[in-house]
Amino acid sequence: MRLIILALLSAGLYSPLFVAADWQVNLDQGATEISQAMYSLHMLIFYICVAIAVVVFGVMFWSIIRHRKSRGAEAHNFHESTTIEVAWSVVPFLILVIMAVPATKTLIAMYDPSDAELNIQITGSQWKWRYQYLEHDIDFISNLSTSQEQIDNKVKKSVNYLLEVDQPLVIPVNRKVRFLFTSNDVIHSWWVPALAVKQDAIPGFINEAWTKVSTPGTYRGQCTELCGVGHAFMPIVVSARPEAEFLQWVEEQSAQKQAEAVLAEKEWTLDELTAHGEQVYLKVCSVCHQPTGEGVPGAFPALKGSALMTGDINAHIDIVLNGRTGTAMQAFRDQLSAVDLAAVITYERNAWGNNSGDKVAPSQIQQQKQ
């Protein structure tokens, strides 16, 4: 007993250290009507649970304190009462009905995706999200942008460590946006707490959910379904912007697309390609094939010294573009631009002593893509 008191006291002494830190203990109210409704429902159920706990534990601790043998308590001999049993079955049932009514209402509201003004298809794949705007010619992939050095504790971690991406999903505020979820490989789950949207992305299925964000801002979330080695590393960032800013962003996207097409026409040197390819490799390929190109024996093949990397260049391009069925190797045809694909293949053929000296031009990839 002395030991326990000592432990509690010392814990108390250290507590000021913790006060400054981030101790979020409850759900966020979020940024949509649905998220508010969920929050209220959550609090309602929570308070009911606390009330039940207080009553049950109250009686229990009363007995623990008052009805101890050491205080001379004698055991009373009651042990059966149908009335009481019926009562404490019916009363909880009625409490459940009280909970079920608002829960059903909220659920029905969540299940109404009608009159959406913008439709976005969200495709999960190991370990990134692809966003396709069905009404606009916008299609991009959103990758984790936290550097490997931060993960390996070599440099200081940024504020949004593991919750930052290279390209966020941009949506307009006060518009009903409908999301369509699917997956390329395993099951993922797209969750942004502030939007109160969590929906599984399942291969072969299309699920739907919707949101209507009321406050502009940046909202962050993560994949919530175990999807392999990179499960912790596929965050979601949603940037909700006022209508005008959103339209401006749409314009920028098409301008950027044109610029990329011009870039693909340009004549690239070997050095330019490998330099750009290394960046693409570290972002896209290194989770499986490792930054050293050595892969993970038994799971992901090594690229270093691989016959494919030094042999037939068309076979190499084919596997990167079209993937390999039945393995974790995805088809990158639509995931990466021609420039990125050409660069990363060139890099793989020249890195880690693969020194083939081969160069793949973006125009070559574009031909293959068609």
Partner: protein, 527 residues
């Protein structure tokens, strides 16, 4: 002929065989119970070590000790080992020891089957654990092994995992058949069904759950095997299959499985609380009916694990309502325990301490379960640390505490010695504090947005993760006290009386401590 007579004489009162063959060939329910219990304790430490590896990695953000690939293997193996290696065998061990003694039977109904049920287990776990050393690593798809992560994208060791699960299933089903046959056929004269101790009742119901659920598990892993090696497409969308089908079949097994892991615990608590309250259990009949209702409901709630897979609204509502309904019979049980304590004459030896904390902490786990049942809000809770907190509250201070309560409660009967009470109480308090420091902050982490099964996390989750890891190490290492206390109790200690505890009632307390190798060779008469 003279020699033949002699063998018959020797047979009259033979004790245990000597050496290793006693344990290999034994058909004695007490020996097999002991084997189960030691095996489960070993697995508890193996699975616990994996849990500590997980908590060590999660002590701080960033990757330090366990890289993501190994991390996923640790979470998967921790879950599988704790469920199939620690909790289930422990309950079967307790049933082996106690059910025949409680119903007045000389042994289990099928002693040889009993031997086989146990000896499958070590081999199944050798196969399962050997995957850790295979190329590509151990299963890394979570203990729920959702396809296609566990089929198309699985490491090669998945085939060994499937084989091990099949063996575990066979062992469990045989064990369950044995328990049902014992309870239904070998009760002493006068021991009517409504006189059965609640531990026996809850185990009878659990055994039926096992027989219904384990073949479904066998089915789902066989479908996986077919997909992986024989070109079928049960769960492969590209071949016209359905990944969600996997989840339906899996949870149709796994939800009853949850109750398989808690109902015998309810039984143990229902034995201990009346004993240390020196008062009969309140509402015996309603306890039996509540257990039956829970068992029935456990088969029609499975999709509450799948609220975010895109079920139609009607499905969501059905599974929400049925799940909420489970809290009614569960509540009845809790109220009955509290009513048993009310106006009793209470003492707090170690078994009672574990039992009382079971009621408190299991209720907390039950209440968070009720929150999770509310489908619209489950969209926020699902697959976060809130769920991890919830099921650890029902499994650690729930199932595990009930097992420990049972062990402390019956250990003097088994060994004939009292365990060290001071050490037992120290073990309890350290476990109680450790468990709460470990798992309570996980509620906060989940609500703040931390997904489960991630090997690394954002900075705002750092503080509570650190607290949780500290708690895990306190809890983990205090279990060594338990091991020490049990070993010391077997080796010696104050002699236990036949009744052991002042308030103990029942057949098992009417025989000597330790009981003879064969009890009730003549059936006792129960009035």
């Amino acid at each position: 002929m003279a020699t033949l007579d002699q063998t018959v004489d020797v047979h009259e009162d033979h004790g245990p065989a000597k050496g290793i063959t006693r344990w290999l060939y034994t058909t004695n329910h007490k020996d097999i119970g002991t084997l189960y219990l030691w095996f489960s304790l070993l697995m508890f430490f193996v699975g616990g070590t994996m849990a500590l590896a997980i908590r060590a990695e999660l002590f701080q953000p960033g990757m330090q000790l366990v890289e993501p690939a190994l991390f996923n293997q640790m979470t998967t193996m921790h879950g599988l080992i704790m469920v199939f290696g620690a909790v289930m065998p422990a309950f079967v061990g307790l049933a082996n020891w106690m059910v025949p003694m409680m119903v007045g039977a000389p042994d289990m109904a099928f002693p040889r089957l009993n031997n086989w049920s146990f000896w499958i287990l070590p081999f199944a776990f050798i196969i399962l654990l050997s995957t850790l050393f295979m190329e590509g690593g151990a299963p890394d798809f979570g203990w729920t092994f959702y396809a296609p992560l566990s089929t198309t994208y699985a490491p090669q060791s998945v085939t060994y995992f499937i084989f091990a699960v099949h063996m575990l299933g066979i062992s469990s089903i045989m064990g369950a058949i044995n328990i049902i046959a014992t309870i239904l056929n070998l009760r002493a004269p006068g021991m009517t069904m409504m006189k059965l101790p609640l531990f026996v009742w809850t185990w009878l119901i659990t055994a039926f759950l096992l027989i219904a659920a384990m073949p479904v598990l066998a089915g789902v892993v066989t479908m996986m095997l077919m997909d992986i090696h024989f070109g079928t497409s049960f769960f492969n969308a590209a071949g016209g299959g359905d990944p969600v089908l996997f989840q339906h079949v899996f949870w149709f097994f796994a939800h009853p499985e949850v109750y398989i892991m808690i109902l015998p615990g309810f039984g143990i608590i229902s034995q201990i609380i009346p004993t240390f309250s020196r008062k009969r259990l309140f509402g015996y009949h309603s306890m039996v009916y509540a257990t039956l209702s829970i068992a029935f409901l456990s088969f029609i709630v499975w999709a509450h694990h799948m609220f975010t897979v895109g079920m139609p609204l009607a499905g969501e509502l059905f599974f929400m309502y049925t799940t909420m309904l489970i809290s009614v019979p569960t509540g009845v049980k809790v109220f009955n325990w509290v009513a048993t304590m009310f106006r009793g004459s209470l003492t707090f030896e170690t078994p009672m301490l574990f039992a009382v904390s079971f009621v408190v902490l299991f209720t907390i786990g039950g209440l968070s379960g009720l929150m999770l049942a509310i489908a619209p809000v489950d969209f926020q809770y699902h697959d976060t640390y809130f769920v991890v907190a919830h099921f650890h509250y029902v499994l650690v201070p729930g199932a595990i505490f009930s097992i420990m309560a049972g062990v402390y409660f019956w250990l003097p009967k088994w060994t004939g010695h009292m365990y060290n009470e001071r050490l037992g109480q120290l073990h309890f308090w350290l476990s109680f504090i450790g468990v709460n420091i470990t798992f309570f902050p996980m509620h906060f982490l989940g609500l703040a947005g931390m997904p489960r099964r991630i090997s690394d996390y954002a900075l705002q989750f750092a503080d509570f993760n650190m607290v949780s890891s500290v708690g895990a190490f306190i809890f983990g290492f205090s279990q060594l006290l338990f091991l020490y206390n049990v070993v010391q109790c077997i080796r010696g200690g104050r002699t236990a009386t036949d009744q052991v505890w002042e308030g103990a009632r029942g057949l098992e307390w009417s025989i000597s401590s330790p009981p003879p190798y064969h009890t009730f060779t003549q059936p006792p008469l129960v009035k």
